[in-house]
């Protein structure tokens, strides 16, 4: 009996083939998107906003404030992009998973290998994003920048895995509107990426504080600004790790229910 690791690795050639086919389409946007965001929101919009560390959670400029927010938020968007339509394609449109299922691979192996690909995609896009931000003097230290990059990948996984679980069991793609309307867009706008959540009303602030994206934004911001506070940082980290573990369990369960009937 082969190990789970070996069974996941056997799918490397498949995902490498998929990537070779698709990377050209993503390479331009992964450079250009961060540049557009940082210019529009950080430099131009930020030009109107007084750089007051007291109102910007310790950030010297608005650009330095939103840089980690953008980093975490783009990772969420990439993760949701990778775990909605591509997963639906594997179970419904192309049925590639059904072909894989007829081999020694089990549903958990399919999830693990697909997950490996998503981690790779998140690591690449977040690394490019973090690198594009570098010339704008938004990092307190190199270590902080690397830490924020890792947090971005973790946020992507923490949000992507439950979405994967949802997509693996969803009847069709129209269910995704729910994910985008209720999950992605409100989190993108109100989870502290663009303004300190203390500006929200107390109830909304409490809700914002509970979102996974906020956990990641706050943790990434502590790292890029060099304002790491061990207690809250640990809470953020544990929160995100629990999301990853629970998301993985749900993803395997929902995919198994979809395929093994």
């Amino acid at each position: 009996m082969s190990s789970s690791f070996e069974l996941a690795v056997r799918q490397l050639d498949y995902w490498a083939t998929v990537y070779r086919r698709t990377w050209k389409g993503t390479v331009v946007s992964s450079f250009v998107n961060p540049l557009l965001y940082v210019l529009a929101m950080g430099v131009l919009l930020g030009g109107f906003i007084a750089g007051d560390p007291a109102t910007l959670e310790g950030a010297p400029t608005y650009l330095a404030f939103i840089a980690p927010g953008l980093l975490a938020a783009q990772s969420m968007q990439t993760a949701v992009g990778e775990t909605t339509y591509p997963v639906m394609s594997m179970v419904k449109w192309q049925k590639v998973y059904y072909g894989m299922q007829a081999t020694p691979l089990r549903p958990v192996d399919l999830v693990n290998a697909h997950l490996g690909f998503i981690v790779f995609r998140l690591a690449m896009t977040s690394a490019v994003f973090a690198a594009v931000l570098a010339p704008f003097d938004v990092y307190h230290s190199l270590l902080g920048a690397v830490g924020a990059w890792l947090v971005a990948v973790l946020v992507g996984l923490a949000i992507g895995l439950p979405v994967y679980a949802f997509a693996a069991g969803a009847p069709n793609e129209s269910s995704f509107a729910l994910v985008f309307r209720l999950g992605v867009i409100p989190q993108f706008l109100f989870s502290g990426a663009f303004f300190p959540i203390s500006n929200l009303s107390p109830v909304l602030e409490a809700i914002a504080r509970l979102t996974p994206l906020y956990q990641g934004v706050d943790l990434a911001r502590m790292l890029t600004l060099g304002t790491l506070d061990a207690g809250p940082a640990l809470v953020h980290l544990v929160y995100l790790l629990v999301m990853v573990v629970v998301g993985h369990v749900l993803a395997v369960r929902r995919l198994t229910r979809r395929l093994v009937v």
């Binding site: 082969s2 070996e6 192309q94 590639v96 007829a102 691979l105 089990r106």
Partner: protein, 313 residues
């Protein structure tokens, strides 16, 4: 030697059942498939053939009864069983955006076959299914018949002990079907055990050494094609067509001319040992069918006899 005591039993099912909620797709069937034989499940759509196949493919848990594949219990050893199976599903699950060659290559890797070995097997299999020239083509650009051949090539990438083919030629034109049958016949000659489902009687007659006829989740007959025809039908059949009319109106007038008659919407079937003689007697009675045909009995007739229905509705 496996736990059933027969090391040549590739599939062994007893009282095998499959339910989906309150719907019972397979209602308790007994099946043995021996090494090297070509075994068929024949029946109309909805007979429970595909549900049975998915259980044998170790991707669908059994709802009841006993099932051993290659001597192993699929509930515990699904992965090991699947490592030794080749599966050609009813619906193609090829990756349409990958090339023909890459479809075989990545699939072989799922079985843990080393890269160089997979490449060489993929090239050989593309020769075998006559797709070598299309190796670099995208699957999207292939015809239906080519896709089926590629799916069959893919199912052979792990040199399976047991090849499962679910409706292998449904939707193909006659030429593509004959090419596929030829390839399957060659595999059989090489000693590969085949399990085939079909709702085409000619396919079953051509390919299967032994088959079961399924209807509504149960096995209604079992044997070789010729045995089944001998047991459940006459040697010949005379088909009478009376144009656009209610054929049952003529049934009483010819009933005594054959051992048995069947009334279909578009024709009457007279089961007789001598079809020509039966047709002559029909004409003697002053009846003038617009068309007549005398043929040998087929599995279609067996099925009609056993279930009262035709295979292809």
């Amino acid at each position: 030697m496996d736990e059933t005591g027969h090391d040549d039993l590739m599939v062994s099912a007893r009282e095998l059942r499959k339910s989906f909620g309150s719907f019972e797709a397979v209602k308790g069937i007994d099946v043995d498939v021996r090494r090297g034989e070509a075994f068929g499940f024949l029946g109309p759509n909805g007979a429970g053939k595909s549900s049975t196949m998915r259980m044998i493919a170790a991707v669908s848990p059994v709802s009841g009864g006993h099932l051993r594949i290659l001597g192993l219990d699929p509930a515990e050893h699904g992965s090991e069983i699947r490592a030794r199976l080749g599966v050609c599903p009813q619906e193609d699950t090829l990756d349409t955006e990958l090339s023909v060659f890459d479809n075989l290559y990545v699939y072989g890797r799922y079985f843990g076959i080393p890269r160089a070995e997979v490449r060489s097997r993929a090239r050989d299999l593309l020769e075998f299914v006559q797709l070598a020239e299309r190796a670099k083509a995208k699957v999207d650009d292939l015809s239906g018949g080519m896709k089926r051949r590629l799916t069959i090539a893919r199912s052979l990438i792990n040199n399976p002990d047991l090849l499962l083919l679910d409706e292998p030629t449904t939707g193909l034109d006659p030429q593509a079907r004959h090419l596929l049958w030829d390839r399957l016949f060659r595999l059989k000659q090489q000693g590969v055990t085949l399990v085939i489902t079909s709702h085409y009687m000619d396919e079953a007659e051509q390919l299967c050494d032994r088959l079961v006829v399924m209807d509504k989740g149960l096995i209604v007959a079992e044997g070789s094609p010729s045995q089944l025809i001998r047991e459940h039908s006459t040697r010949e059949v005379a088909e009478l067509r009376f144009g656009v009319t209610e054929h049952s109106l003529y049934a009483d007038q010819v009933a005594d001319l054959a051992e048995r008659i069947e009334v279909l919407p578009d024709r009457l079937l007279l089961y007789s040992h001598d079809g020509e003689e039966a047709v002559a007697r029909v004409h003697e009675r002053g009846l003038t069918p617009s068309a007549t045909l005398v043929r040998r009995s087929s599995l279609e007739d067996v099925f009609l006899r056993l279930t009262g229905r035709t295979l292809v509705d």
